[in-house]
Symmetry: C2
Subunit: 408 residues, 2 copies
């Protein structure tokens, strides 16, 4: 099938020829409604006319930045990696990934479950909703997707095949290299430059060489450390949630990279939410819930990662019988501690880049009151700096929480 | 061209149809002589009948282990990576790599310069020959091949293309994972088991969990740290040398891996030679030359790596202007120090694996006197252990030399 951009009408024709999708709708007449307001892709809700709850999502990538238009080209190849990652993560842990009903790399298109009763987690967190199942779900998701795509589980050949399937996602990896690790910490046209000019905090950040050397160390890890298949952009806007379920969507940045990058992205976004509530709502009860949630996620992530690891004796890394039990236990615990350390470092980069970089987060850049927004930015930079400077010496999860509590 | 195994007769027909090779011989009649005694490939000298000095080498991989026969299959795909690596390294620094006159990935065959006036360096070193140009040559070769294939020089996309070209070399990477990092440190059928049974030194090594945990750390780096295109097997048997020239051959293990692995392989082999002379010839003058040579190689490698790095301002890693000059200098010096540290660790693994593992080195396993050979093995294990345990805390090149001097 040759690639062509579909619209709200032609997508019905396209869908009507896809058996797996039509099996879902049976004999129902279907309609399409454009629902996406994303920057990159077109998103349609495909639903039964007589039963609108019976619905799927169709998402198609176009070869330009959708929010700007055809003058801003961006390769649609990214959908290849989103499809491959959704499929891979679904096979690892289906309960946290929307089911795929149809995918076409040629058409840069995927049809999957419609999550009609879920909201984007960031909105829920800003609204002060407590998700009691979240730490359990996300820790399982991260431990499973990272462990089962790593050299700790796969054979040497399987790991290289995985690298091969995702190595081509160069355009989005390059975006992260630039927009997370470099441009937000120097004068650059892509920054939120209205906020940078005559801002002593921005100038202080841009000239903080101790911080920036450590960021460079982390950027190098991002580029060269091939631990596991990452989601690559695991912020709270990539999570669809309700009281019961958690779904992780939009893995278009997927590639084989360092373990700590996904965990760090999530941590950064929870800390940004903590900052929002520290400065805007001053809701101490919610802040305590966030602190507990972070602690719980990191503890459970470590436990589950080690638990998955205990089930397999042989892998690219391990030959059964190579280490005795005590040494193997020590080795694994040190290994997981290093994942947490890297996570803290990456979280610091991800938080700091949101302050002056091209893509702010709603929790901070969305604060309308200028003085409060400046308070939130300072708090974010303070925590981010400590995370980045201290990451490789962090000994416990409590130290991470202390850094947060002392900043606000 | 469909693959077929050539012999001393059919290779003449094959060669006669290759324009680039026939241009070299002009109108001369040519002959072929099998000269290789390698384990893996067939090697022929193709020469002019009337002027035997006018010669090239043709090397063809076969889909089995040549020294055993067709019953021991080994994919001939390895020649794809040898050809690609020879071509890549030749473009980086042609004076240290034999010139390729013809290469065919389909035929698993390469035709290159005949190095008739050079010997395998290991034989020269055992014979006590001092190569005055060697440290200059090899430090340039290593600094150039590693720097120019790393994220410190390449763009993000170029680096991913390089990974793609070599990621498939899975069979030989797996060989290294098993035979360098795992099997030689545990009971295993591939070991030199006559020497393992009832040998208290072997039992001590196999139960040395502190050492083995560190080896596992280094194995993990080997498998997941994608720094630069490595030769992958840079021992002194992969170097052809004479008074004036140094050629690095046989890069069939090439893949994108950790910087320190090539430097460490070379270091290990020079230390093994130092052990040979400590135990067998007791030639103090030659030992001093070896110590000086090692120091010189590591110092010059660091200087040249930094010097190449100073010439480019932008790369996958660096954006011009991101760090000020002082910080950039600090960052780079710390970076190169870490390469040397990893090199010491990898050297330790490579030395230790030669003691009981499947492939010994002539300098140690070739010692006929049993008592002397046992002395050499103990000295190798002592140095290897210190290298592996201390590698990540090494502060200076002199510390490396001290470990060697204190062992013998």
């Amino acid at each position: 099938m040759n690639y062509r951009v579909l619209n709200v009408e032609t997508i019905i024709d396209y869908i009507s020829n896809i058996k797996s999708v039509m099996n879902y709708f049976g004999s129902d007449e279907i309609r399409a409604d454009e629902i996406g307001d994303g920057n990159l892709n077109y998103v349609y809700k495909i639903s039964s006319v007589k039963n609108p709850q019976k619905a799927l999502i169709a998402k198609q990538a176009v070869p330009f930045l959708r929010c700007v238009g055809e003058d801003f080209p961006l390769s649609r190849e990214r959908m290849i990696y989103e499809i491959r990652a959704l499929q891979k993560f679904y096979t690892i842990f289906p309960s946290f990934v929307p089911k795929i009903h149809h995918a076409s790399e040629e058409m840069s298109l995927v049809v999957m479950d419609y999550l009609g009763s879920h909201i984007i987690m960031r909105k829920g967190l800003i609204g002060g909703v407590k998700y009691k199942n979240f730490s359990g779900h996300i820790s399982t998701y991260m431990a499973a997707t990272l462990y089962y795509t790593s050299s700790l589980y796969l054979s040497s050949a399987q790991k290289r095949e995985l690298v091969e399937r995702f190595n081509g996602n160069r355009e989005l990896c390059k975006l992260t290299e630039d927009l997370v690790f470099s441009f937000p910490f120097m004068e650059h046209e892509t920054n939120d430059n209205e906020n940078v000019e005559n801002n002593p905090d921005a100038q202080k950040l841009f000239s903080d060489m101790e911080f920036k050397e450590k960021v460079l160390e982390l950027k190098y890890k991002f580029m060269t450390q091939s631990d596991a298949l990452l989601h690559g952009d695991l912020h709270t806007g990539s999570i669809m949630i309700n009281e019961n379920d958690t779904y992780i969507i939009d893995p278009e940045f997927a590639f084989v990279g360092p373990f700590g990058f996904d965990v760090g992205a999530l941590l950064a976004n929870l800390v940004n939410n903590y900052i929002h509530h520290s400065v805007v709502t001053k809701d101490e009860d919610y802040k305590s819930w966030l602190l507990l949630t972070i602690k719980d996620i990191l503890e459970k992530f470590s436990e589950k990662f080690l638990s998955f690891w205990s089930e397999s004796k042989e892998s690219a890394l391990l030959v059964d019988g190579y280490l005795d039990e005590v040494s193997l236990k020590n080795y694994k615990e040190r290994f997981v501690k290093n994942i947490l350390r890297d996570s803290v470092g990456f979280a610091g980069c991800k938080m700091a880049r949101r302050v002056y970089g091209v893509a702010g987060v709603e929790e901070i850049r969305g604060i309308e009151d200028e003085a409060l927004r400046a308070d939130a930015e300072r708090m974010a930079l303070k925590i981010a700096r400590e995370f980045v400077i201290k990451y490789d010496k962090i000994e416990s999860i409590d130290e991470i929480l202390e850094i947060m509590k002392n900043a606000g």
